[in-house]
Amino acid sequence: MPSKNEIIIRLAGEGGEGVISTGDIFTLGSARSGYNVFTFRTYPAEIKGGHAWYHIRVGSSSIRSMGDGVDVLVAFNAEAYHIHHHLLNPGGVLIYDPDTVTPENSDAIQYPIPFNRIARKDLEFVRGKNVVVTGFLAGLFGLEPASLEDLIRNRFKRRPEILDKNMKALETGVAYATKEITKSDPFYLSETNKVGRLVMSGNDAISAGALYAGCRYYAGYPITPASEILETMARELPRLGGISLQAEDEIASIASCIGASFSGVKAMTATSGPGFSLMTEFMGYAGMAEIPLVLIDAQRAGPSTGMPTKLEQGDLNHSLYGGHGDFPRIVIAPGDVKDCFHQIVNAFNMAERYQTICVFLSDQSLSHRTETLTKPDVSTIPVIDREKPTDGDLEGYLRYLNTETGISPMSIPGMKGGAYTSAGLEHDEAGHVDKPMESHLMMVPKRYRKIETARREMEKPNRYGVVDATIGLIGWGSTQGVIEEAVDRVNANGIKAAAMHPKVLCPLPDEELQAFIDSVDYVLVPEVNYSGQFAHYLQANLNVKPVRLNKYDGLPFTPGEIVAKIEEVASHG
């Protein structure tokens, strides 16, 4: 039997039972050993109880999605077995505690391991169960225990009383795999190279990129799945001379960011749907008063409180159209974890250069998933600061100077001669509000001109896939990897497909998209929402009536789902 060095593992059980921590340790351990990883995790919105699961795809070549089905299911309890076992791929492996799960007959390879009993009786350490399982997986798939040991040492370094117990649990798990069972599955994580790779979550990459871009003020209000950004900024900013504020609500968060940006400091807030909706009025203020600001919306399934721990790409409409009145905005959605770093820098650059609100759309899968990535080469990622007035500009300074690009040099408090009042009221070039109608006629086009300047200056999307494609996929946000994987797969099977995945969604790179659309026979737009917000937006702006593929069960696409739709489109073609 040829060994397979890519594995899709799913751990499932009761929330708080160790599912998440098992997943985290195993993922990190694999990544530290040089494998590529890609995870998805979800748990109930409650703190305790409910069904949680952790999905890890791990292997030695590049990994861009959750993959299809499950190769290895670890069922922590009977419910977990029942919910997930039908996802097992042919030749898949079921790992379970025979004391709690009684599997039906199936062709799955079964490894019973009484981890509850082992933890309770052998180790006298009930909470060690998850580490036993981690060890078992490491033993089974040939992962070097060293990196896991390091992780455990680190995790419990401040609690020596349970460090030893956990090390013992790990050892016991490994031993069980190598001695107590007969391995009959083909999965084996072979040696791989470790050079220059990072393992990060989307929220990690966003925070890192923001710090690199020069963000020195952060204000936010806790909300899933954005809270980790607040937590990172609270830890990191003080030593950089910055401030992070847990504000009283999202309105105060965005308000104080706008105040900080007015003071000349790069500022950011992060939230999810409910908070994003609350920030609406201030988005318009940033647009009108031309104040640079980065607003991260880590989307979760809505509407309203919705499903706080589930995925949905449901806030595109609000990003593009939310808020009363006409005002310019930038909307950016990163494609994967590495892109989070790159695009958040881009978000700051664009917010600063075009002096307006930049909405950055992450989502529950991307913010919380762990991916391996090559270290970003920051020498290729420029940092742009807003244009400030020169001494010459400061004579008879006009804050809202009506330039050709629409961009007016922005003074900041402390600059002598630069004083002005930033206004949400319509204003003239000086910021005066006494001739609103004339001002409006001048200023509305001026503000929109910045968007046209941005469209000219911005990065353009690349085309992915075969050159003579007949089917073109257009996606946005966290679906990049899974779409590309699907394209590769159908291309390998003789269907000619290509994809384009713009990162800057507003302004839309309409020329490039239209050229792409015109080059194919069918356009397919997969997105994780019911109403097809992106497809609708493309229809409004371009000459296209795309086929839609919408998923709204709270989970990411699998490559197979997209492949099936491409095949359907191809066969109708």
Binding site: G196, S244, A252, S256, C257, E281, S422, G424, L425, V433
Partner: protein, 281 residues
């Protein structure tokens, strides 16, 4: 002498924009006291930011020469918090209405006070919504009839001084727009105070709700021997409603948020991205 040559005067802080307030509006008194306070403190106008709300009161920023933010209704305090946090060297004033601060913005003041942000908040209280033409405000008294309360107000009026005191403000005072010298002094001391200063100003709306006579009868100075360090006593006085006391109710010292927040770590302004990313390797 160089010194006299650079001395800043009231005119330096006054912009060319003619105030659009109605004749007699109490806000003129607040404007003139503020101008004089700025001159008294000899603050450079580029180092001052005045953040205002939306209302007649909110127009203040346009009449002044320092940097200004004419914000959103109710949000002057969180805007000012960001301005100050980003650059603690600035002198930051909030000038806003009773509706601004105690109706739509009611959720923000307690937090800024609790944080002891070093800003000075001036509440221009006219007990009405001036700009939207005379609806009741949170400080309107019981029975007050207005466009929005044709049958009279039936809510207990907000008590700005009491609210500031119980939220943890470290400087709480009340002035009256018909007494600009005292008001000027309170603003000066509010600015000098290290921490969250709240100056409540009775600033009547002559157009829709002229309470000058009412206040002229009721105002009273705090006793000469008033001890501004006694919070309980200050609260007791704030609860009195037959008299309207003027002066500095309360002042205390407490760490300022933006100072403490920066003391957490030795500051190293440069972000070393390589070192930072290494933790994820």
């Amino acid at each position: 002498m160089v010194e006299t040559a650079t001395k800043l005067v009231v005119k330096d802080y006054k912009s060319d924009v003619k105030p659009t307030w109605c004749p007699g509006c109490g806000d003129f008194g607040v404007l003139s006291a503020s101008l004089k306070a700025l001159a008294e403190l000899q603050l450079k106008k580029e180092d001052v930011v005045v953040v205002s709300g939306i209302g007649c009161s909110g127009r203040m920023t346009y009449f002044l020469t320092p940097y200004g933010m004419h914000g959103l209704h109710g949000r002057a305090i969180p805007l000012a918090t960001g301005v100050k946090f980003a650059n603690p060297d600035l002198t930051v004033l909030v000038m806003a209405g009773d509706g601004d601060l105690f109706s739509i913005g009611a959720g923000h003041l307690p937090h800024a006070a609790a944080r002891n942000v070093d800003i000075t908040v001036i509440c221009m209280d006219n007990q009405t919504y001036g700009l939207t033409k005379a609806q009741a405000s949170p400080t309107s008294k019981i029975g007050h009839t207005s466009k929005s309360t044709p049958h009279g107000v039936i809510s207990e009026p907000a008590n700005p001084v009491l609210t500031a005191l119980s939220s943890g403000a470290t400087f709480v005072a009340r002035g009256y727009s018909a007494k600009p010298p005292q008001l000027q002094d309170l603003i000066v001391r509010g600015i000098q105070h290290k921490g969250f200063a709240f100056v409540h100003v009775q600033s009547p709306c002559t157009e829709f709700h002229d309470t000058f006579d009412y206040y002229n009868e009721r105002i009273e100075q705090l006793p000469d021997d008033w001890d501004p360090s006694d919070r309980e006593a200050a609260i007791r006085l704030a609860l009195t409603d037959d008299r309207e006391y003027l002066g500095l109710f309360y002042q205390t010292e407490r760490p300022v948020y933006e100072t403490t927040a920066r003391e957490w770590a030795p500051i190293n302004d440069e972000f070393d991205v390589e070192t930072y990313l290494a933790q994820f390797a």
